[in-house]
């Protein structure tokens, strides 16, 4: 049975093209705005450990439509990718970075949009993934916006990855990637999903707000005497806790994303 009537579709969900590529090796939602071409900028938004990919798609599609950028929203299922936040799952050694690279290739193949360099953001566990991926694949990241990450890889080679960078093979262009950390001003609760080991508390602080501040400062210091280093900024969104919906709705996030897109377009 086919329905011929043209039923109204909510403006919030009226996609010019929206699809889900469901392969285990590279499962993702893709959104392509109207009038997109090969040079349309691409934003990758990575979910947290609740695997709220649909929420990322839902909340960012309006921005994507108005800002005319394409969206790639990965789905790192728990069974396959485990602790994707660390890019390489420590137990299974499954590589979420390779999965994202495969998604970008697939997306480009389907849409004709150039994914050689993208703006990479992520919330919570996705924020962890975003900055670690950028360290390893800086040539693919035009700008990185880790949002409300639980903890970070500090630019300290004396500290083993993932708390530091240890022997992590940093990409040579990593220093040049602009970083804009975004975190809620009320993101100070030590919820069950937060890493609260004494070592991390001592190194990074007791909650996400402090950890974002410390990592930003550490990275600014690390890059301060390096030629051609990209900027490192922190935006604290007032009155926002650890909630992606609330953060994504802030002017602070939209503005940070807008700046990142400018970097890509420039």
């Amino acid at each position: 049975m086919r329905h011929e009537r043209d039923w109204p579709v909510s403006e919030a969900l009226r996609p010019e093209r929206l699809f889900h590529h469901a392969a285990t090796a590279a499962s993702y939602f893709g959104f392509v705005p109207a009038g997109a071409g090969p040079a349309t900028p691409v934003v990758v938004s990575v979910h947290g450990i609740s695997r709220n990919s649909a929420e990322h798609l839902f909340r960012l599609s309006a921005l994507a439509r108005s800002g005319r950028f394409a969206l790639v929203v990965p789905v790192f299922d728990k069974a396959t990718y485990g602790q994707y936040q660390q890019v390489v799952d420590p137990r299974k050694a499954v590589r979420a970075d390779e999965s994202l690279l495969a998604m970008l290739k697939d997306f480009s193949g389907r849409t004709g949009i150039n994914t050689a360099r993208v703006v990479l953001t992520g919330f919570s566990g996705g924020g962890q993934f975003a900055h670690r991926f950028a360290m390893m694949h800086a040539d693919r990241v035009a700008a990185c916006l880790p949002c409300s990450a639980g903890w970070y890889s500090f630019p300290d080679a004396g500290l083993a990855f993932p708390a530091g960078i240890g022997t992590l093979p940093l990409h040579p262009q990593w220093d040049a990637v602009p970083i804009h950390v975004v975190v809620g001003g009320d993101d100070t609760r030590r919820d069950p999903s937060l890493n609260t080991t004494p070592a991390i508390d001592a190194q990074q602080g007791r909650h996400r707000l402090t950890r974002a501040r410390r990592w930003t400062r550490a990275l600014q210091q690390y890059r301060s005497d390096r030629a051609g280093a990209g900027g490192v900024h922190l935006t604290v969104a007032a009155d926002v806790g650890h909630d992606f919906a609330d953060l994504a709705a802030t002017e602070a996030f939209a503005s940070a994303l807008g700046d990142a897109l400018t970097t890509l377009q420039g």
């Binding site: 049975m1 329905h3 011929e4 009537r5 039923w7 109204p8 579709v9 909510s10 403006e11 919030a12 969900l13 009226r14 996609p15 093209r17 929206l18 699809f19 889900h20 590529h21 469901a22 392969a23 609740s50 695997r51 709220n52 990919s53 649909a54 929420e55 990322h56 798609l57 839902f58 789905v75 299922d77 389907r110 992606f244 919906a245």
Partner: protein, 359 residues
Amino acid sequence: MPDTIGDVFVTAAPDRLQQRLLLARRSFVTRRADLGEAVQFAKASSPVAGDLLLARVERIGQHQALESPQGRRQQMYEGDEIVVAFGNRYAPDQFDAVVPDSLAPCDLVAGGGIAARVRARHGRMKAATRIVPIGLLGDQAGRVLNVSRFALPVAQPGAAPVIVVVGTSMNAGKTTTAAGLIRGLSRAGLRVGATKITGTGSGGDLWSMRDAGARTAFDFTDAGFATTAGCELEQLVTAAKSLIAHAGTGNDIVIAEIADGLLQTETHGLLKSADFARHVHGVVLAAGDAMGAVAAARWLHDHRLPLKLISGCLTQSPLAMREAESVIGLPVATLEQLRDPLQAPELCLRAFEALDIVA
């Protein structure tokens, strides 16, 4: 002076009535009512749907408990006084009952607190619990208090997309389907508002929606109806749109359940209303069996409603699922799929004709 029955009316001193109301067992359908406004028994002899009354339990029958406004099942005893509302009941598995034309003894036809006169009952039902109206609750001016007085303000639907869950009949799995979808969408991080648009006042479905993860849940009692059986279509459409509006406020998506089967008068009328249908982005059908699903899908198709997905009790049978899927040509989703944080939004996005699944 006796408290009374039939067409004889008495007045009660305001403080005495308030004291009686405090001691009486209050029912779910009165939950929005401010009983502080009840200062006397109204001098009206012919109730209408939604009128609030104080009644005495005369003989316990089918319903032995009365659901409180908070959802507690209050055990009733003969002689108890209860605060309920008049309303029609259309429940093929239970009672066919109407608002009586007098305050003569009548029946408690739903545990949520519906007083009516039984016309017929299902073979498995006991006789209804018998109640004796003591009086209609009246305000200072003597006007009867009706649940409609305490309704939420009428509102117009906003931008949140609406998925409507309908069924082939009572007990086809509508509430479970709606709750499953709410669960999956809320697990996905979406803010879900829920509403039950028609039916007989009872908290069960609302609690089910809230338990599944709906941030807000409303039913027709919020729109001023004790039950929706027998109400005017125009009123029902206005109420349905308003409930969708309230459920959508501050939420990303609305899941709206419509009671009973497609052949039930109000369900039928509501779904055929273009004014209502234009706010519906997708329909999910809960079906009891494959043949029912096929017939219901055809009915929805004939009425140009955007059926997108089948679920319900038939999904307990893989063979029935296969039969329905092959004839109707639409996906049939199990409860497990509905509750999945990836599959639920995917199913909804497909319902909006927005999502291609690519290999």
